[in-house]
């Protein structure tokens, strides 16, 4: 120990402290990203001993085959339903609870807890519960519909309906999360602005919302939208639990297709191409999210 110079010892300490985490990042993150990018250009199958380079064929297949397109459009529809649904509802709940905080703070807290429950609950287990809620004959939803003389629906078995059913479960799961973000945004709005608006004649709840709350919430709303999009693009648990992409691929999504092609059919090359497309989308969203966070910090 004493044989080593002080500088060497310092370098060894640096390596001892920062080395393991750095090495782990290389092995489990950067190397796999490089490999998956390369695999996407091959026809490699899990277990095969050889493979050949096939250029962009996997990508072509994804964008031109019926199934590939279906997975992409389904994901886009899902995201397009979940973003407005959970952002608008999250905002409405947050506004309601923020106001209620003035006249019934306890009740407001109870509501907050209730709305946040789905975020904390295990989604796969809750999906199994949803399966029973939406069960064609034993489910409470169809029993309710029958009780008021409406036709029962096959929520998870109907090709035209299944994607929207999953979207509603997606909204159910994210409203509470968005509510928390909006509540934080609402708390950050200084009371003086509302007083000023009242002096200027914008005292009614409606006009104070449009003149103060909404403009001040702009950055938060943008942030919530991007974060919701990034999460919605990852939709997997509900699909894997409830539909396995079916019926007839009507609820197939990018991440589920990635899983099925790669780990059920062992088409590593094709699955890698889906992975890279998924990664590209999320990369754009995450960079956007960083930009928004930055703007939020410099806001005012």
């Amino acid at each position: 120990m004493t044989a080593l110079s002080l500088a060497t010892r310092e370098r060894l300490t640096d390596i001892w402290l920062a080395g393991p985490a750095t090495l782990a990042m290389v092995v489990f993150i950067f190397l796999p990203v490089a490999i998956v990018a390369m695999l996407s250009l091959t026809d490699y199958q899990f277990g095969a001993t050889t493979f050949s380079w096939i250029g962009l064929e996997n990508y072509q297949k994804l964008f031109s085959s019926t199934l590939g397109r279906k997975a992409i459009t389904n994901t886009l529809i899902y995201v397009a339903v979940v973003i407005p649904g959970s952002v608008v509802l999250g905002l409405l709940v947050a506004l309601g609870l923020h106001r209620m905080n003035h006249w019934a703070p306890r009740l407001s807290n109870v509501f907050r807890t209730v709305y946040f429950l789905p975020v904390a609950a295990t989604l796969v287990a809750m999906s199994v519960a949803w399966q029973m809620v939406l069960h064609p004959s034993l489910g409470v939803v169809n029993q309710g519909l029958v009780a008021v003389n409406l036709p029962p629906q096959n929520w998870l078995g109907d090709r035209g309906l299944v994607l929207y059913t999953l979207s509603i479960i997606g909204i159910w799961q994210t409203v509470g999360y968005n509510m928390v973000l909006f509540l934080a945004g609402l708390l950050a709005i200084p009371d003086e602005l509302y007083d000023a608006a009242e002096v200027d004649g914008a005292g009614s709840p409606w006009s104070s919302f449009w003149t103060v709350t909404w403009p001040m919430l702009g950055p938060t709303t943008l942030f919530v939208m991007v974060i919701t999009a990034a999460n919605a693009f990852r939709v997997f648990e509900t699909v894997a639990t409830l539909t396995k992409g079916g019926p007839a691929f009507a609820s197939d999504t990018l991440v589920y297709a990635l899983y099925r092609e790669g780990f059920v059919y062992f088409k590593a090359g094709y699955s890698s191409a889906i992975t890279i497309v998924f990664f590209a989308i999320l990369l754009v969203l995450t960079l956007l999210q960083f930009r928004v966070v930055e703007r939020k910090v410099h806001y005012r």
Partner: protein, 276 residues
């Protein structure tokens, strides 16, 4: 004015209550089926609550199925991941904030880049590697890929950067080794960050289905979400009550943790939202 205010409050209360009922619906139905006797489950008429509390379903789930095993696996995996994540990321964050060395900027750049990579992207190569090494179907397969946590390093770095360097210098003068400083001084100081990170990490991995579905086929290694699917596919509609009791048991730990730590939970998960 006062009448309008009353009307506004009544309206918002009504709407919020309706929303809350919709949010609670799957929870109520899950609990209701879990406590219902068999014949009430299969009755076609609508009956929101059980006529009497029936514990049989829980007894079945706990004694005749692998649910306890799934819960144990969940604990092993979740705390295994958390322990390694902290063991790796706290020293790294300390080095990044409190030490000067050549690769510092590069490593921090790597952390930021790694934040952009969702886990799904790395799954195929990690699966391939684990298959080569014969690691699939083991606890290690479920734990190892999550050890590098860019988010953890980032969070601890943000926190430790605010600690004045003199504090650590004083410890150095007292003769403490750098490793001792990390664990005896830096880590206790970073405990609030560690709590937020723990909530994020435990929730994410207790709930994860994607990787357990890929890395393990052995039912004895199933984590709670993987296990509940094994159970569902096995019972195939014959014992809905026990299945619902199992989902209650699997959902309960995190929900109870949330109910007991209501402020911390949303905070932890909201910080997690910053991660890509």
């Amino acid at each position: 004015m006062t009448f309008n205010r009353f009307l506004g409050r009544a309206l918002s209360l009504t709407l919020l209550t309706l929303g809350a009922v919709a949010i609670l619906l799957p929870f109520i139905w899950m609990l209701s089926l879990a406590f219902k006797p068999q014949d009430e489950i299969f009755s076609a008429s609508i009956q929101l609550l059980p006529s009497s509390i029936e514990w049989r379903n829980f007894v079945v789930a706990l004694t005749e199925t692998d649910v306890p095993r799934y819960l144990l696996n969940g604990l092993i995996v979740v705390f295994g991941i958390l322990a390694f994540q902290i063991l790796f990321s706290v020293p790294c964050a300390f080095a990044l904030t409190q030490r000067r060395f050549a690769g510092r900027t590069l490593i921090f750049g790597m952390v930021l880049a790694a934040l952009l990579v969702p886990f799904h992207v790395t799954a195929i190569p990690i699966f391939l590697g684990f298959a080569q090494l014969g690691l699939l179907n083991s606890y290690w397969a479920l734990i190892l890929p999550f050890i590098p946590t860019a988010f953890g390093i980032f969070l601890f770095r943000q926190f430790l950067a605010q600690v004045p360097a003199e504090l650590f210098d004083a410890a150095r003068v007292d003769g403490l080794s750098e490793t001792a400083i990390v664990w005896r001084i830096a880590f206790p100081l970073a405990l609030p960050a560690a709590t937020a990170f723990a909530i994020f990490s435990i929730t994410a991995h207790w709930n994860d289905l994607f990787w357990p579905l890929i890395a393990t086929t052995d039912p004895h290694l199933a984590t709670p979400p993987r296990g509940i699917l094994f159970f569902r596919d096995e019972e195939s509609g014959n014992d809905v009550g026990a299945l619902m009791a199992a989902t209650v048991l699997i959902t309960a730990p995190l929900v109870l943790a949330f109910l007991f730590a209501q402020r911390k939970f949303p905070q932890g998960l909201a910080t997690g939202g910053l991660k890509g």
